[in-house]
Symmetry: D2
Subunit: 270 residues, 4 copies
């Protein structure tokens, strides 16, 4: 019955960031705001037995007057917490010049939706990942077709990146009840056209806390190899995207529920 | 932890088409093509212990020269098979004048995406459902916002319909890799704004067999109260929508997989 | 240089509602609200030397509790004013049963965006127009592709309608700065694929008075054979769509400006 | 009647790239392919009395294996032809590092749709334009709202750029009959919210030669302060976007037609 069973799909080798029959949880705050804030999330993530933490040091902001991240100081905070709690760290790079700097601190690079066709960034990120062996998580643009996304991914591959995770994060449609429309079908469509693992960022399409758990479960059931979830100790006072970040307690509940679901699918949350 | 658990949501009373902790499967062919074809699907659906079968007698077709259904003969075929195999039947009404006729044969009425704002049809279907106590499944238009969908639903309620199931079936976006973009977030959004049960038609957004199972699992995990799946004994020779209809064997496999998943969610497929 | 000159396109015969080198203005209030209101607009339209007036007697409303039109009384008001001021009248039909009634009062039938794939309405409207020789204006659905629009139009043609005007009225996209996104390219695309005249409803996409004139000029310059513009004596107190209706003075100014532009294009506003 | 007359809008001072009551035509090939090819277009543009020529030296390509431009050699070809034929030159910058180089050759910088939220590029382009006094043409992203576009424009302004032209170039929607959907209403909407001039790139939304003239006329009539049109001596053998580039003869015809229309609007094509 392999036609319907994405679980049996041949996966990248075990050296990949997404090992077979595992689902990686990239959890963490939208932005690194302080040592204390980040450590609090890191302890929670570590206590849950997870392996990665994410956070933004350089924030792309629609409005230039918004909080734009702590920059290199944020990278250092992440690296310290990662070492202390035994977690790999993932963070976004905004331009080609940042790639080497970010790779010197972080365990993996993220390329965001707004840079989905920033080809000079893709090429440099690809080179840096080739040199360092670090993974790169590549988000789909919010108006990018799946075909364009896979095509842009060729820039990373051409530059030598071998550990690539594609990340669906919602597309722009006429519907305004959610922040973006999660294109859940992107998971099986990419699985059918590529052998790269697919992550689903459930926080950005949700745009609201109460929508995060159902979207996370849906992504897991659709066959996602990884999930990205924004978590903050005090969402109400977050410097960015407060509405969609889970608090630590909500996150723990979600991880519990996801583990039950993952077990039924023959997978493990890591 | 009720904030994240859609399973604990208060549901309509047991007289509803969607009883608490159950997930109704509306399976059946896109169109009723012959007595033999429909009976073959009905036997399969019944053998799997399911309770409803769907099929189209009046088909809305973009192109007037396409197959437009068997009409009243199709209704009779459905009713006969329903009686023979102990299944309730669901079928689409295309205009106000058909409502009483259809209700005299079928167990429930379906209003399709193209008639989402056909207000005279909504009013008449509402009246007929009020008179007969039959349920009505009301699909979202493929360019309708959730707010408009709930607003259009008021036409059904005003006319007296009390057993309404809302059905998400994919919206139109720029992405062409799938036939429509399944708006999976519509499930929790509607649950948050209404106490009506939500069905997800996974065949129309998929547009291709291999995408149906992951979308069905995603919809189940997102909290859907019902699923609609197109099933045909010989999809390759179907008179409409052959690409997206599962064959009987594929459907049996899917039901098996859904049952495992439903159990993990504390639900039963009926 | 005929490749670029839509003006030289072969047009339907002179008996058409849209004669060659003319641009028909379908102006009038969103809804017929009273004899006085409608007469005031009719006098203005007639004084400007125009030939058609439009108005809604049966209003499709997203919310059932909104004003839904005066019904047959509205049809009578329109017919009286048409006779008095020497204007042809155009009004919307919402369902198959209304077609003969509406045709007994009005000079032409309009099928609205929400009924773009209401095939039983299209068939009946086509038959009534075939019997009466009256024109039918057929709006594109706001999520309908041009291909689907032309395909749905076959229902009208099959039923015998010979005087059909297609009407672009904006599609639904992610942009919220306007009510709908006017797909201005629909004008040359339809001209390239069909020999039917194309009208552009500029009021619905605009959604605001100040956007109506630039959209009307754009539609004219793009080659539209007709324009639809909502006009109301007192937009601020209109029972529907007040924000987008021009007052009489604004409308007179617009007609003046359109006449200058039309002259430069070798056309006449009628 | 100033409410409807965009022509009377207060415009930036005469030192702007878009002087009052003028419409700038940014014409030229998609990509600079050779000295001969570019000179042929430059001669045509100059003979028509126009003031700007555009062309791509660095090409953003969805597929990395496509032709990606001549790079600095292309910049030199443009500069030479500009000098020889008395034309200002406009060309795209793809990343922050290119800005100074490009400004040393070109008369103006273009930021393309894919870099609409590439904030580090916007900041550097803004600084370079501030230092050199050169104008920057800033295209809307194809999934960017007008609000986001104006917000991203703040990055240019904050960095000191004072001569900014916004450029609408089509957005992504469900319609596939055109390459992108030209959002013609963006012209009056931006005029209403900003005092920056608005250009319309009519070639990218068109995606086909025969759609370019009606879209160009529509943009002019909607009040655009500038138009961008792709022109190539031999479109059929162009290295990119051949379907939508006009040949020289088609372009001459279009300019003639636009001049008639502009005169009726009280404007001059420059």
């Amino acid at each position: 019955m392999s036609w319907s069973s994405s679980a049996k799909r041949v996966k990248p080798s075990d050296s990949s960031v997404c090992p077979p029959n595992s689902v990686v949880l990239f959890a963490g705050p939208c932005a690194v705001e302080s040592e204390g804030q980040f450590a609090e999330v890191a302890r929670c993530v570590s206590d849950l037995g997870l392996s990665w933490i994410r956070g933004g040091a350089f924030k792309p902001r629609t409005n230039p007057y918004s909080f734009r991240g702590l920059g290199e100081k944020g990278l250092a905070i992440m690296a310290d917490a990662g070492n202390r709690f035994g977690l790999s760290t993932l963070t976004e790079v905004l331009c080609a010049e940042q790639c080497r700097l970010v790779a010197s601190y972080a365990g993996g690079l993220q390329i965001g939706a707004r840079n989905f066709q920033n080809f000079s960034l893709l090429e440099e990120a690809g080179r840096v990942c080739a040199d360092t062996g670090k993974p790169v998580l590549f988000k789909r643009g919010f108006a990018g077709t799946i075909a364009e996304w896979l095509s842009a991914c060729e820039y990373l591959k051409m530059a030598g990146a071998s550990n690539i995770v594609l990340c669906e994060r919602g597309i722009r449609t006429f519907e305004t009840a959610t922040r973006f429309t999660l294109d859940i079908a992107a998971v099986p469509v990419v699985h059918h056209q590529s052998d790269l693992p697919v992550c689903v960022d459930v926080s950005h399409p949700a745009g609201a806390q109460h929508l995060v758990p159902p979207l996370a479960k849906a992504a897991l059931a659709a066959g996602a190899d990884a999930l990205m979830v924004e978590v903050h100790p005090h969402p109400a006072s977050a410097l960015s995207d407060g509405m969609q970040q889970l608090d630590l307690h909500q996150f723990e509940t979600l991880v519990e529920e996801l583990r039950v679901l993952a077990a039924a699918l023959g997978k493990t949350i890591i």
